[in-house]
């Protein structure tokens, strides 16, 4: 038997375990790609990634729909374990319903503590700001030491609208974009591909692994974790060849090669560490294009 099941049964009893197991099954409802839980899981992965970018330490792991009582999203690091319960509803209270949130949050803390998890925290995440305020001032004393209420918007099921309507989300996602100054469609893409990769990791995984997998499956949006020093990937003669192209300006940013010329602009599809980019560089060095038309002809 898995240790979480064991611990729930041991300290809270068989009925609580049955409830937790049913809760996990119930969490998979809704249309994939438009679910509040999918959006938040992807956004939390982005938030964690942004806070660990460039840090030479193990990254936290993230998981959706775990077995437990506060079970929608869990972020585990060496320092803390953050459980989040998501509620995309108009109204809810701490003590309402057959299974009040207060009980769930108290149970989750008990189980996590009994399992020896570092600093267990429980968050309630809601999609309405006024509900966040109301619940935030009414957190029961029994759970207040480890509980917070957070606001995360829903965008009515549209990732695009979620991004357009929320500048705070834009700031986080921009840091994960492969562009220095990403446009709004590119931010939609950052969150969108993270949502998709979340489906490939039903049991969760470390956030850096998820980011790398996302870049591999959908290389169009995220910054590179593979390129610390872009210079090592630039072939001799590549920049000299670029300098010979009339009107072309270029840059290496966030691990990617970008160019502009005569109103055209593009960021190369894969990062500078890839074979595709090496092949492209070889083509440019070999062919020595002089015009934008010649250069465009070499792009994959």
């Amino acid at each position: 038997m898995d240790p979480v099941k064991n611990k729930i049964a041991e300290i809270l009893g068989a009925d609580a375990l049955k409830y937790a197991q049913n809760k996990k099954k119930g969490g998979d409802n809704g249309k994939k790609g438009t679910r509040y839980e999918d959006f938040y899981l992807a956004y939390r992965a982005a938030e964690v990634a942004v806070s660990y970018l460039g840090k030479p330490v193990p990254w936290p792991s993230i998981h959706g729909q775990v077995l437990g009582f506060v079970d929608d999203v869990v972020v585990r690091s060496g320092e803390k374990t953050e459980y989040s319960q998501l509620k995309n509803v108009k109204t809810i209270g701490w003590q309402t319903g057959d299974h009040p949130l207060e009980t769930d949050f108290r149970y989750q803390f008990q189980v996590a503590t009994a399992l020896g998890e570092p600093t267990p925290l429980t968050d309630l995440v809601v999609s309405r700001e006024e509900l966040k305020t109301a619940l935030g001032v009414a957190i029961p004393d029994s759970i207040i030491d480890h509980t917070a209420v957070k606001y995360f918007p829903y965008g009515d099921g549209s990732i695009n609208r979620l991004i357009l309507e929320n500048p705070e989300l834009q700031k986080v996602l921009a840091q994960l974009s492969k562009k220095l100054n990403p446009t709004l469609d590119e931010l939609e893409g950052v969150l969108g591909v993270l949502v998709l990769t979340g489906f490939h990791y039903p049991d969760g995984g470390s956030v850096d692994e998820i980011i790398r997998a996302t870049s591999k499956i959908h290389p169009n949006y995220l910054c590179s974790l593979n390129v610390a020093d872009v210079k090592q990937f630039i072939l001799p003669g590549f920049e000299n060849a670029l300098a010979g192209i009339t009107g072309l300006a270029y840059a290496f940013q966030k691990g990617f090669f970008s160019w502009t010329a005569f109103g055209m602009s593009e960021t190369f599809g894969t990062d500078c560490s890839t074979q595709q980019f090496a092949d492209f560089q070889n083509q440019v060095v070999h062919r020595q294009p002089m015009t934008i038309d010649d250069f465009e002809g070499l792009l994959p």
């Binding site: 549209s158 969108g192 009339t246």
Partner: protein, 237 residues
Amino acid sequence: MRKFSALGKADPQAADLVNGLSGLKDDPAKYRNQMFLIGNHLADAVLPHLRNVKSQICVFCTVEDADFLARGLIERLEQQGLAERIRLICLWNGKIKEEGVSLSPILREYKETIAAERTDFIIVKSIISGACVVKTNLTRAISVVKPSRIFVAAPVMLSGAEGRLAHEFPSDISQRFEFIHFADDTEKNGDDVIPGIGGSVYELLGLGNSVTKNHYVPKLVKERRSKYFGAADLAVA
């Protein structure tokens, strides 16, 4: 099932051109010309909205539509004396569609300078079905400038596309949408609208598939970048 819009009923020639698209499956040259002519008619339909204002007109198109539908629209507007007001943004879109998530990453862009204020957008597209490409390209557009009006111009729209597109934007943007189209189709077979525009527009235009069409650099782009960015030595042939 096809139903013509009020604009389609008012312009029987446009309606005939749209109906004729599905009969041109093996003739890219004729299909291209038909799209160009439909672009002329879309311009005629949008023109009354543009005459009495002095705003800049920013035409957004995809790489596959640029030389045909978009050129037809732009040239007709130019013939009507609006050339100085027109700017072009052409976008090369990729496609990601899985698990309920649809994205159309912009892989490359051609963009002329747009005024920060008093700009009308015309998003021209051969067909609007799921509205994902239009969503992406319009989102790119509003990243740069907040338009006065947004015309979404297409020969054919899948029924409900207006609502799907509006749902992707906050109301301060979606309330500016004005749809210019000739036919509403209600049926789909896989990704294809029936009868729609006869199938995959890239293939019908002779531009290959959704990947190879992105290697194409439209003549319209070459001509305009030469003119607007002073690159006299650029090839436009």
